[in-house]
């Protein structure tokens, strides 16, 4: 006899109640992001933006843009790093990144030569952060060598450290580490891959 077993299994009763209501989840997610922003507890908001170099992940704290990442950097992994290094209160919430996304789209369309965004440099410290603050001094369409940047940052011998600072730039594209090239004029390494660096330099040279 299966009667008792059958009586205990109530799963069939709830078939009409959808397991996943996609429309409701989307509505509730938007509502949560808005309420969290208003309550001041959305520590990290993120979205992606499509570019000729693939989808870029953009993340911002209440202070400003904190992270830009290429697909090859693994967006899921980047979000985990943000959760551990900034705050686990991380939500997909495009509104805070509207301005950044718009400026990045304009940049890739060749209609923008500089970014006017509040930045949060908390993911970079010490000498690396010092290097990042000097990067925007290289004008759009121009390049500088690692050695020149080391000199600008006040440590002419720290050429290798400048390379590391660029490789660990949490805000590629916006903080233009792609404008730092090797002394022989070749592009050199890049967080988004060498091809991405060449594309950015070509884009800027053409504009």
């Amino acid at each position: 006899m299966m009667t008792t077993q059958h009586t205990l299994d109530g799963g069939d009763l709830f078939v009409p109640l959808p397991e996943v209501d996609t429309e409701a989840q989307r509505r509730l997610h938007n509502r949560l992001a808005a309420a969290a922003t208003k309550a001041g507890i959305l520590d990290v908001a993120y979205r992606t933006v499509d570019t000729p170099l693939g989808a870029l992940l953009l993340a911002a704290t209440e202070e400003g843009l904190v992270r830009v990442a290429y697909g090859i950097q693994d967006h899921d992994k980047v979000l985990e790093q943000l959760a551990s290094r900034v705050s686990p209160r991380v939500l997909r919430a495009p509104a805070r990144l509207d301005l950044a996304a718009q400026q990045i789209e304009e940049y890739f369309a060749g209609r923008r030569t500089g970014f006017d965004l509040p930045l949060d440099l908390r993911l970079s410290a010490g000498f690396r952060r010092n290097v990042l603050t000097h990067l925007p001094e290289i004008p759009y369409g121009k390049t500088a060598s690692y050695a020149e940047l080391a000199a600008a940052a006040g440590h002419p011998k720290a050429v290798r450290a400048v390379g590391t600072a660029c490789a660990m730039n949490p805000l590629p594209v916006v903080v233009p580490c792609h404008r730092v090239v090797r002394s022989d004029g070749t592009a050199g390494q890049y967080v988004g891959g060498t091809d991405a660096k060449k594309l950015l330099l070509t884009l800027e040279a053409a504009a």
Binding site: F14, D21, A24, Q25, L28, R31, E80, S84, S87, L91
Partner: protein, 168 residues
């Protein structure tokens, strides 16, 4: 201790918590209860102990938020006759908002809660007892009674009508 981004918590557990809220407070307040649950969870999330059962934690919060809505519903005048216009709900006509919820809302609150926490969230009765109070055995009995009633009133409404019709 590294916590995963809260976005993943919403993705993974949002749908189940919505089913629980719908079953406990009904279509009119379920989304409010869900929203309050997840806002409260987001606030507390950085302090959640490593290794915690995230779904049980969310159901515990949803339980508290739902009680507020059930109390508010109790204070509102009881609507008589037909359900409100189905147009305010997103479901299909005759979906859960109509038949399943009208059967659920007739259950005593504790039965509705234990049924939802066990059959929708999959929590063991020991966890449910900690959320609703009482012993695990009492929680198990409340859920069994709730399921038995739902079988009669929801799956076999004709039988129920016959039964009531036969009553003096």
């Amino acid at each position: 201790m590294t916590q995963e981004p809260f976005e993943l918590v919403v993705e993974r557990h949002g749908p189940t918590v919505l089913r629980v809220c719908r079953a406990v407070v009904g279509p009119g307040s379920a989304e409010d209860a869900w929203s309050e649950t997840f806002l409260s969870a987001l606030r507390a999330y950085p302090r959640l102990r490593a290794g915690s059962n995230v779904e049980a934690w969310l159901v515990t919060i949803a339980h508290r938020k739902s009680i507020d809505h059930v109390r508010a519903q109790g204070r509102r005048p009881v609507p008589t006759g037909e359900l409100p216009d189905r147009g305010i709900f997103t479901g299909i006509p005759g979906g859960w908002e109509r038949d399943l919820w009208s059967a659920l809302k007739e259950l005593p609150l504790k039965q509705r809660q234990t049924v939802a926490y066990h059959y929708l969230a999959g929590l063991p009765y020991a966890d449910i007892a900690e959320i609703v109070g009482g012993t695990p055995e009492a929680a198990r009995r409340a859920a069994a009674d709730g399921i038995a009633t739902l079988r009669r009133t929801y799956l076999n409404p004709q039988l129920e009508r016959d039964r009531q019709g036969a009553a003096p």
